[in-house]
Structures are given as C-alpha cells and as structure tokens.
C-alpha cells in the first residue's frame, strides 16, 4: 500500500508540472503577443525617418493548442494519482483536505477542458489553470502525514453517502471556478473590447451554464449532507458552520440566478455577483481552518 501511495504522489507531482506549464501557455495565449514594426519614411527634406510601432496581437494558435495538450497531460497524471490512491485505500480519496484538494485538482481540470471543448474558448484557461496550479501549491504545503491513507473515523463510515456528497461538492466547486473565470473574462472583454477574446454574450452564457451545473450539484450537496446528518446525528440541520457556509454559497448563487432576469443586471453586474460568489466558495472550502463544529474532523 505504501508503494501505491508513493506512486500516487509522484503522479500528482507530474500533474503539477504539466498544469504549471499549461497555465503559462494559456496565459501567453490569452494575453497575446506584442508585435514590433519598424517603418522607414522618406521626408520632403530628403532625410529618412525611422518609426517604430508596437501592437498587441493574438498569440499563435499553436500556443493555445499546446496549452490544451499540457492540460490533458495534467488531467491524465492526476487521474492516475487518484486511481492509485483509491486502490491503496479501498475508497475514493475524499476524507481529508489533501484528498479533497487533489480530487478537486482533477475535477477542475476535467470540467474546464470539457467547457473548452463545448464552447471553443481557450482564453478561459488563463484563469482556471492558474487556480488549479494554486490548489496544487496548497496541496504541496499540507503536512506530509495527510498523504497517508488512513481508515475512516466512525463518523465518516458511510461510504455511499460520503462518496456522493463529497464528490458533488468538488464538482460544484470546480464548475464555480469555471464560472468565475468566465465572469473575469467577461468584465475584461466588456471593458476593453479585446478583439481576440470571446464575445461578452458567449462568456455570459458560459458562466451561466457552469452555474447551471454547479448550483444543482450544490443543492444536492446540501440535501445529501442533511440526509447523512440525519442518519449519523439524528437531525438534518444543526446550523453547523460548514453547513451554513455551504448554505451561504448556495444563496449567493441563488442571487446570481435571479439577477439574470433583472433588467440592467444581466451582464456586468451579474458577473460581479459571480466574483463575490466564488469568494464564498473559497470561504467555504477553507473554512475548516477557522470553523469548529461537526465537520472539524479528518484532521484537515
């Protein structure tokens, strides 16, 4: 088992490298390149004038394709890492922050690449992949003992519910990350009219579509969490900080969905709501470090 766990970690390391390289390529693709031109002009006095001009142009398509390829490599390595850890532990790796975060890295990569394929938008990777890299960095900073595969404490010994409840939470967070990226790009595209960025309408739709996956997933997280709480603790809602933080996130996305039908709110304002909502996601994700309550097990 130790060999499998070690191998799993090596695969995660390889995934990290692939994601870092991919993020760099996506950033280069999204930002574009500066093209310098030199022009020589003849003046009426018989002298010549050399003029230099710089213009921002889209990056070569190959950079974007390479970024996508590297992202797929990262996903493949991370999938191998998760698979190895699953075999080692006899369950999906979902019981502490190390396992949760590594699974998030995988799902965030997969969800982003699917959206890239459906919408044909690569520039989103310039925001999502750095988020994935940041999460990889966070995982590297976690204490090494969290990498060990341990048996579940009694409170977590409900594998079907734990698997579905936690997996849906990770899926929700991953899609919300894509929605966040779409909102950021929307605000940039809407403000500066960069010609090689997707249209604001497309980005608005992409963000909305991501939320239409994440919001039901988050709803199921709350429902299944309540079912599990009822099964384990005798009550489906205890105002536990982690529960209420998840509810807070759900409510903010509820605000977002309602603003889309408000005149004057669709577009920039609802994009800002998406940014705030992702802040709520981050708050809920890392809340274990400051919350007490019933979710404060798993040793972080």
């Amino acid at each position: 088992m130790e060999a499998l766990v070690r191998l799993s970690f090596y695969c995660f390391a390889a995934a990290t490298i692939a994601f870092v390289a991919s993020a760099a390529c996506y950033l280069a693709y999204a930002v574009g390149r500066v093209r310098l031109r030199q022009r020589t002009l003849a003046t009426s006095a018989g002298t010549t004038l050399v003029a230099h001009e710089a213009s921002l142009e889209p990056a070569a398509l190959g950079v974007g394709r390479f970024a996508t390829l590297l992202a797929w490599f990262g996903v493949a390595f991370q999938a191998a890492s998760i698979l190895l850890r699953t075999v080692a532990g006899g369950r999906l790796p979902l019981s502490n922050m190390y396992e949760f975060s590594t699974t998030f890295v995988l799902l965030a990569g997969v969800v982003y690449l699917l959206f890239e394929r459906w919408y044909g938008v690569r520039q989103l990777g310039a925001i999502v992949l750095p988020l994935v890299v940041a999460m990889c960095g966070y995982v590297w900073l976690l204490p090494a003992d969290l990498r060990e595969v341990n048996d579940l404490i009694p409170a977590l010994q409900n594998r079907p519910l734990m698997t579905v409840h936690v997996s849906l939470a990770i899926l929700a967070y991953a899609t919300f990350a894509v929605a966040f990226a779409a909102a950021v790009l929307f605000l940039i595209a809407n403000r500066w009219h960069v010609s090689w960025l997707p249209s604001p309408d497309l980005l608005d739709d992409l963000g909305y579509r991501a939320v239409t996956i994440g919001f039901p997933a988050m709803s199921l997280v709350l429902i299944l969490g309540s079912v599990w709480a009822y099964r384990a603790w005798g009550t489906y809602w205890q105002w536990d900080p982690k529960e209420t933080a998840a509810l807070f996130t759900w409510l903010i996305y509820g605000v977002y969905l309602h603003t889309r039908s408000l005149r004057g709110w669709r577009g920039s304002r609802s994009a800002v709501v998406l940014l705030v909502a992702f802040g709520a996601v981050v708050f809920t994700y890392f809340g274990n470090y400051v919350f007490g309550g019933l979710h404060a097990y798993g040793g972080v």
Partner: protein, 494 residues
C-alpha cells in the same frame, strides 16, 4: 349629507386600501426585492457562520476598537433571532405571492401563446434565418411546420394579411418547473417548524452498561444498555463502537437491537443514534439504616472537579441523605498539567466526596476518601461501595415528524432545478410571405442575449434547411456591447 358625498369618502378609502394592497402585492412579486431578501438572508447566514469561527476574534485582535462589537456578535444567536426568522418569513411569503402572480402568465404562455409577430421583431432579432422556396407560401409554411415538428417542436400558425405567422416551441412545460422548486423551499421551512413543534431531540442520553434509563418525552419507553463494545486501530484511534440496547415498556422488553455511528436503530418514528461513550462507575450507596439510596452506574465525564480538572468525574444529589456526592476517577492523561492533580489516583481507585446539600444536611463540611474497586467506605452516615468500573454509551435520540416533508421537498427541489436548467423553453417565431420567386420565410428565436438559445436556433435552421433542400441565410445583429463592434452581418450556413 347627500348620498353622493357619502360615496366619495368611501370610494377614496377603498382606493387607498386597494393601493396599499397593490403595493404590498407588487413588493412581494418583485424580483428586485427577492434579490435583496436573498442577499440579506445570505448576510445573516454569513454572520451566524462566522460566529462559529475564530474570525471575529481575529478581527478584534487586529482592531481592538471593534472588541465590544465582536463580543455582541458572539453573544447574538443569529439563527434563532427575530431578524433571521423575519427574513425567512418574508421570503416564504414572497415565494407564495410570486407563484400565485406568475402562474396565470406562465400558463398562458404554455397553453395559449401569441402566434403572430412583426417583421420588425424578426428583422431586429439578434439572430434570424431566411429561407426561400419556389412554391406558394401556404405550401412552404406547411413544409416548415413538418420540419419543425420533426425536431419535437409544437407549431402553431395563423394567417394574417396574406402572410402566415408561425410560432414554434419545445419543452414548454418546463416553465412550470420553477413552481416545484420554490414550493420545495417553503416545504423545507415547514418541515423545520413541524419538527421543532411536534418532534423532540435528546442530544446527550447517557446510559451505563447494564442500566435502564427512562427516555421521557411522553414515549413511555425505557432503554437498557445490554452491552457496549469498541474496536480500536493500532494507533489507538477508535475504529467503531457499538451499543446493544433493549427498548422496554412497563418493564417488558419490546425490541432489541444494535447501533453504531452511521447505523442508527429505529423504533417507529424514534431513531436512536450512537454518539459517544465513556467511563462509568457502578456504585452502591446505603444509609445508616441499611436502606439502599443508589445502586446503579454513574457516567463519569459530564462533570469537572476542581480536585483534578483533567479527570472524568460525576456529581449526583442524594436528596434523602441531604448530601451531594462527587465521584472522581484517575487522571486519563497524567502527563498533562500534573500540578492540577491533587488526588494522584491509581488505576482501580475512585475518589468519593460528599458535600452538604440543603439546610438540613447531616454534615457541615465535605468529606472525601479514596476507595479501591470492590471495597466500601463510610462517609458521614453513608456507606459507599465501589462495585466496579463500567462504560457508558452516549446516544442521541430524535423523533422528527417533519422528515417526510424534507425528503419530498428534496425531490421537488432537485427535479425542479434539473428541468428548468436542462430543458429550457425554446421558442421560435416566423413569417412566411409571398415573394417574386415563390415565398420567403424568416424565422427568429426569442432569445435576447441568450447565446445558447441562438446557437440552438442556428443548428435548428441548418437542420431545417437540410430537410427542405434549401440553405438558410443566417443574419446576426450584434448588440452594441459586443467586442467586435460589428453591426449586422450575413453569413451562409454550412
């Protein structure tokens, strides 16, 4: 005073009351107000969440001037406060009012949509498709209807001024899905109220091994803990723990069963949950006349003694004897703050202490002594026997009649969301008119700033063109906010 002059004030007051009702109704129907209400609820939830964290204290440490506010924040039970209940009530009313208000309009759009449209709408639509055919308009319209129906669209048509107006839609009933979703929210609130009003929950039901405890809450049930067992891992952490219990009524066993964490025991609508466990002491207390005042097990842990704050302890009032009895076990972690342990008990020992209770107590000072397992000791007029060490189990016991409401709400909530998001109501309008070469049809989706709907329409237009053997001309009117800044453009389909 004339009849007319009496009528006027009545009319005015009626108009005023109607205006007030109308304003209130509009407020509860307003999406803007709903957004504000949800946002306020979110802020309150955030305040309550942070109250269960170290964040407010961190704020107070950084900005000492905020310390009084932080203290009040920690003291404020947000989730049981009036503002929280108030905003939930307002939201529930808003959902109900909004549903009643929207239902007729939604049903009208489903059952009796407006079929006719205008050339202006079609020309100015963000996306539209133009089809040409060398045949009369009615024949072409018929072919278009067939093509649309083959794509699962309902098609309605109406002739006006020699032109044929078309209305086509798909998944129209999905517009109703918003109602089960919002109803589910009210049901969840209702379930919570029902559970709180007619249910009960016992958070810490201590029961030592071999003992019988009354459940209470009008159930008439007693619980006997027959056995408690736990399994540990090599590193000393608990793997699982289990309680074997018998439920009794009037002294007769009615059901036996086991429970572990995540595997509760159910009896009717009462559910027993394994929550924790600990150490208990079986002891016997007799007075000077030999009458037994106590012969049972006492859970150690709920009480903390100043003689050793680290040690499991218990306290019990012996009213007939006029004393309070404290029992303290050996320290579970002697290395932790040993200077606080004034008893220095060894394994197999217990410390008993009696204190005066009430004005008629036979003793005036506390009396304590250490006892070994199996031994007896006299304290005051009492004989205390330390029979043996035992374990106790901590159960949570709950009855919640609101649970069926919650589960039904969960199904409606998820179902409503799924239908709303994944089967959106798609609508297309069009006009088929006679042209010099036959007939011309212009179709456009009702999809303002809806990129997905426009894409679906473009795919539909291409598919219809394939079925009809004619290529549509797709027109795109880019909105002013588009990044390209282009106006109308025409592009061929492919």
């Amino acid at each position: 005073m004339t009849h007319a002059s009496v009528q006027q004030p009545l009319a005015k007051s009626r108009a005023l009351s109607e205006m007030v009702v109308d304003r209130i109704w509009r407020f509860f129907c307003s999406v803007r107000a709903a957004v504000a209400e949800i946002a306020i609820l979110a802020v309150l939830v955030l305040a309550g969440t942070l109250r269960g964290s170290s964040v407010p204290q961190a704020i107070a440490d950084l900005f000492p001037v905020t310390a009084p506010v932080v203290d009040r924040w920690y003291a404020w039970d947000v989730f049981r406060s009036l503002p929280f209940a108030g905003i939930l009530t307002i939201l529930a009313v808003a959902i109900a009012v909004c549903t009643i208000n929207r239902a007729p309009g939604i049903w009208q759009a489903i059952a009796h949509p407006s079929v006719t449209t205008t050339h202006g709408f079609l020309r100015n639509a963000e996306t539209s498709a133009v089809f040409a055919a060398p045949m009369p308009a009615d024949a072409f319209a018929s072919q278009l209807e067939t093509a649309l129906r083959s794509r699962s669209y309902r098609v309605l048509s109406e002739e006006r001024n020699g032109e044929i107006h078309l209305y086509a839609d798909r998944w129209r009933f999905s517009r109703l899905a918003t109602f089960p979703f919002h109803l589910a929210l009210i049901m969840i609130l209702a379930g919570g109220i029902v559970g709180a009003t007619w249910g009960f929950r016992e958070n810490e039901f201590y029961i030592p091994e071999g003992s019988v405890r009354e459940l209470g809450y009008g159930t008439g049930l007693d619980v006997r803990l027959d056995d408690f067992s736990e399994v540990y891992r090599e590193d000393g952490t608990a793997l699982t723990y289990r309680s074997d219990v018998t439920l009794m009524r009037d002294g007769e066993p009615i059901q036996s069963g086991s429970m572990t964490v995540n595997n509760p025991l159910t009896f009717g609508d009462i559910v027993f949950y394994q929550s924790g466990f600990g150490q208990a002491v079986a002891l016997k207390v007799e007075d000077s006349a030999g009458q037994v005042l106590f012969d049972d097990a006492l859970p150690l842990g709920p009480f903390q003694s100043k003689l050793n704050p680290d040690a499991p302890a218990a306290r019990m009032n012996l009213l007939p004897a006029g004393v309070a009895l404290s029992v303290i076990a050996p320290d579970e972690n002697p290395a932790n703050a040993p200077e606080l342990d004034t008893l220095q008990l060894r394994s197999g020992e217990m410390f008993f202490m009696i204190r005066p209770l009430g004005a008629d107590s036979p003793i005036t000072q506390p009396i304590g002594a250490t006892v070994r397992q199996g031994d007896s000791i006299e304290l005051g007029d009492l004989t205390l026997t330390f029979v043996r060490e035992r374990r106790f189990s901590v159960l949570q016991i709950a009855s919640n009649p609101g649970i069926p409401l919650f589960f039904a709400a969960a199904v409606l909530l998820v179902g409503g969301l799924a239908v709303t998001f994944y089967f959106p109501h798609r609508r297309v309008r069009g006009i088929v008119s006679t042209s010099a070469d036959g007939s011309l049809a212009r179709l456009a989706p009702i999809a303002r700033r809806d990129w997905s709907a426009k894409r679906v329409f473009e795919q539909l237009a291409v598919e219809i063109g394939r079925q009809l053997g004619t290529d549509p001309e797709l027109h795109v009117n880019e909105p002013a906010s588009s990044s390209t800044g282009l106006g109308q453009s025409v592009r061929p389909s492919f």
